[in-house]
């Protein structure tokens, strides 16, 4: 797939030209809204930056709608839990957009403990001509007022403001890892390591617990929930993944507490591949329904798997993301890379899968042609407007020109978060503190 590189090096760091990244600027989530007009990113410092696609202009037809910063706000602040003497990180774990119902945009953003509903709205008019206060806002001395006038709305520079409309807190003992908006657009669920809660978007002081896998005795704990998502079309169905590599599909109509699954998806472990780290690499880091709702995609450390909802025994397709890492497990365990949680995304037509890897590489798999490609998100190796060159990693032996050997991969440059425009071939790739947006080549 040819890509035109529109290297929007959006760097939130104050020291823009310097190469180091302050930790607070590390992007922790990327999400397009349902039309693709807006793109939101959350970072470790608790900030959300929203980009808007500019309208395509007839003057410059080759510049198809680029994304510009639309709004920036501080979503979460660091908090301290005095009872447990724990600091609560402000890092934004997930952002999910609500479907647009009026002129304003709504999104849910969450850190480890609290979910917030933000309203992003535009203001381009301002009332002027108050009686009791002057234009600066200072209160006027009533004795100086001699006439009465009606304030009028006058145009002003466009201002985009974000206001927190709801704060959903105190419902999670463990760290929230996912949120998912239901297709009924009234409810959403938040998931932590052991529990899933269902919320009504309007009600903040109450939530319903729909899944609870906490054992009576914590010492018997064997698995945790790693991700969860609602079915895109059926508002009663959702799926959650576990650290043991299994998926559970649940139907909320069956019972109030969905501890018993309707379907259980698990692939039997290959005994030949058993190692110390088998359990870690089988832990599912992300699960996504296809747009059609027919398939599920899961990401574990080394592979991406596509499951058919109708077949529980094994996945439909398995794609190797970076199998060359299989021999490096011990080092990856030592430097904590083995715990990295990669996400995966579908394209709009459910024909291509995309996920990230190390060395700022990301991979795409075409389900129909069975071809895959490795691309790199980096300023040094690609110029703006240039077509991305496919990359290749060589395992050992003779290294061809332009290939990279496994040992020279930079494991600090990891692409964990990517997003695909809902209908067009535009992708957003977060590489540490940089956001890259790529578009299809326009001929």
């Amino acid at each position: 797939m040819d890509e035109e590189l529109d290297s929007r090096k959006v760097n939130n760091s104050f020291l823009r030209d310097h190469n180091y990244a302050t930790e607070a600027d590390i992007i922790s989530t990327v999400e397009f809204n349902s039309t693709g007009e807006l793109l939101a990113t959350g970072d470790k410092g608790g900030r959300v930056v929203v980009f808007q696609r500019e309208q395509e202009s007839k003057n410059q037809p080759h510049r198809r709608g680029e994304y510009n910063v639309y709004s920036t706000f501080q979503s979460h602040e660091p908090e301290f839990d005095y009872l447990k003497s724990l600091e609560i990180e402000e890092k934004i774990n997930k952002i999910r957009w609500l479907p647009q119902q009026n002129a304003a945009y709504f999104l849910l953003s969450t850190n480890d403990k609290t979910v917030k509903l933000w309203k992003i709205s535009e203001r381009d008019k301002r009332p002027e001509g108050y009686n009791l206060k002057d234009e600066d806002g200072r209160v006027r001395d009533p004795s100086t007022i001699t006439a009465l006038r009606v304030p009028v709305l006058r145009p002003m520079d466009l201002m985009v403001e974000a206001t927190p409309r709801r704060v959903f807190s105190n419902a999670h003992t463990y760290h929230i890892n996912s949120i998912s908006v239901n297709s009924d657009y009234e409810t959403y669920m938040s998931t932590d390591d052991l529990r899933i809660n269902l919320w009504n978007l309007e009600i903040t002081n109450r939530s319903f617990n729909i899944v609870d896998i906490k054992p009576a005795n914590m010492e018997e704990l064997t698995e945790v929930i790693t991700a969860a998502e609602f079915h895109p079309n059926h508002c009663n169905t959702f799926v959650y993944s576990s650290s043991k590599g299994s998926l559970r599909l649940c139907d909320m109509r069956a019972a109030a507490l969905c501890d018993n699954h309707s379907k259980f998806f698990e692939e039997p472990e290959d005994p030949n591949n058993r190692s110390f780290f088998s359990e870690i690499i089988s832990s599912i880091s992300d699960v996504k329904f296809s747009h059609s709702g027919r398939y599920l995609m899961t990401r574990d450390y080394l592979t991406v798997k596509v499951w058919d909802l109708n077949m529980e025994s094994k996945p439909l397709e398995t794609y190797q993301v970076h199998d060359y890492l299989r021999s490096k497990m011990c080092s990856l365990y030592e430097n904590d890379c083995i715990f990295d949680k990669f996400e995966c995304v579908w394209n709009g037509t459910d024909s291509v899968l995309m996920t990230g890897s190390y060395n700022n590489f990301f991979r795409m798999f075409d389900r129909n042609t069975k071809r895959d490609v490795t691309l790199e998100a980096s300023r040094e190796n690609s110029k703006p407007r240039a077509i991305l060159k496919p990359r290749k990693v060589c395992m050992g032996g003779k290294r061809r020109k332009d290939e990279i050997s496994v040992d020279s991969l930079d494991f600090s440059k990891k692409i964990l978060h990517t997003a695909w425009h809902p209908s067009e071939n535009i992708i957003a790739v977060a590489a540490t503190n940089n956001l890259y947006i790529f578009q299809d080549k326009v001929n």
């Binding site: 914590m218 018997e220 064997t222 058993r274």
Partner: protein, 249 residues
């Protein structure tokens, strides 16, 4: 033996990770600690299978058979054997000094006789020893055996005798899956390294034991609970103050 070295290294790294997670910003990550503890357990299994295999080769098969018989006998015994208690008290008191959470002396005394039996019956099934028979003969070339882990651990506990330490607990780690046995067996092998780790930890870890029994019950086909289960329950009762702390998390 490369496996042994690597397994020990992985164990040290894992313990280090668990320790570091206590001081990490944002609190303890349950998922990561769970995974680390699983790796730690796998490494321990391999380490012990290796260790035992090494000893067995030296001791010859006949002696090994004798061990199995003795184990079988001991298995049936109610937890507390004089020999272990004697060896342990010294250890227990030493641990108590180190233990920042200052176990009550009576607790220590109670747990010390219990713990050897606990480690013996780690998987909660006394028929592990029959599996151990096969395990012994197979030697050290196997992959980390889940089913046989308990027997190996039990065996090494029997052999060394001295190393039984009362169960260490941590208030902090919620999954709290690392067994004291892992630490104690490490101590048998390489006291200097692992005892440093123990000092660093200060307070103890609660037993892997019940998780093991839960897991191995699901894994081993026929588990004979018997006295093993009783030991586990006794152990769990003693762990009460700690489990409430863990649950509170």
């Amino acid at each position: 033996m490369e496996y042994k070295v690597e397994a020990h290294r992985i164990m040290s790294i894992s313990l280090g990770k668990i320790y570091n997670s206590r001081v990490q910003r944002g609190g303890i990550k349950l998922h990561k600690n769970l995974l680390v503890s699983l790796v730690l357990r796998s490494a321990r299994q391999v380490y012990l299978s290796d260790y035992y295999a090494g000893v067995c080769l030296n001791a010859q098969h006949i002696e090994a058979k004798e061990w199995e018989l003795m184990d079988a006998d001991r298995e049936k015994l109610i937890p507390a054997s004089e020999r272990h208690v004697g060896a342990e008290d010294g250890r227990a008191s030493r641990l108590q000094e180190k233990d920042g959470d200052s176990l009550d002396p009576s607790d220590v005394a109670v747990t010390s006789p219990v713990s050897p039996a606990i480690s013996e019956t780690q998987c909660g099934s006394s028929d592990c020893e029959t599996d151990a028979d096969a395990a012994v003969t197979e030697g050290d070339s196997r992959q980390p055996p889940k089913d046989h882990a308990c027997s190996h651990r039990k065996r090494s506990a029997e052999e060394t005798g001295v190393s039984e330490t009362p169960v260490k607990r941590t208030k902090v780690t919620p999954n709290a899956i690392v067994a004291n046995n892992e630490i104690e067996e490490g101590e048998e092998m390489d006291t200097s390294n692992v005892s440093n780790l123990i000092t660093i930890f200060g307070s103890g870890f609660s037993g892997l034991l019940s998780k093991d029994s839960a897991k191995s019950e699901s894994e081993t086909d026929d588990s004979d609970s018997g006295s093993g289960q009783i030991c586990c329950e006794q152990m769990l009762k003693n762990l009460n103050p700690w489990t409430t702390a863990i649950v509170a998390f």
